[in-house]
Symmetry: C2
């Protein structure tokens, strides 16, 4: 496996989830408080974490139900990988399918990323459903 893939249900409006994935206030509400984001296609967002880790994600796709980033700087194993959020409305809210793909090898680091992404997707879920996520404090 070179791909991380998580699906979850979020009881919120599609537009709220889209905002959480695309604007500065939203991203700071569930991933990391320390974020610089312009939010236009082709622009590069920077995310910094308390551990000292950081990554720069280029926005390669911005559609109402699909958001995709390409990692252009950060951890060696992340550079060149893509992060994709796919949203689909259902009766009770929105199904979010998340994938992080393009890793060169299946390493323990990728396994740790999979575990950590589930934590932050739970944070996204809480943020969209209650207004309160559990983002990283940032650098």
């Amino acid at each position: 496996m070179k791909e991380i893939y998580h699906c979850l249900h979020i009881s919120a409006h599609l537009q709220e989830i889209y905002s959480a994935l695309t604007d500065k206030e939203g991203l700071a509400g569930w991933w990391t408080k320390d974020v610089d984001v312009e939010g236009t296609p082709g622009s590069v967002s920077t995310f910094r974490f308390a551990s000292g880790a950081f990554n720069q994600m280029k926005i390669v796709l911005l559609e109402p139900t699909r958001v995709c980033w390409e990692c252009v700087d950060g951890h060696t194993e992340w550079i060149g990988t893509h992060v994709l959020f796919e949203l689909s409305q259902d009766d009770e809210g929105v199904r979010v399918c998340f994938s992080h793909y393009g890793f060169r090898e299946q390493t323990e680091y990728v396994g740790a990323c999979s575990f950590h992404w589930a934590y932050y997707l739970t944070s996204l879920q809480k943020y969209c459903e209650t207004g309160q996520g559990t983002p990283n404090e940032g650098a």
Copy 2:
């Protein structure tokens, strides 16, 4: 991707984690309270969940640092898949690498399982570190 792969660190003794993966009290402490387990190689454990879901896992490997189950009954997409826990001691505890492999297709259900496994692995981590996990209440 047809494989779920998560790695995490648990600050506990290897033997405690092994017990949590192999005996009835341990498994009831983090996965589901509703478990029947004999615990010998070749035996079949049954796990039941509040949703009505269940699965039967045959113990195919029991080594001090590797435990593997094969799903012999339960959700159609699980039957024939394997769940593997690999433990390795490090300076501050144990690294746990978890994989669930052998799915025939990458479906949203597999993505949901990946997300849910991360929840239960967090429960395993809490159970081993504090004695208190967040297991399912069972059927």
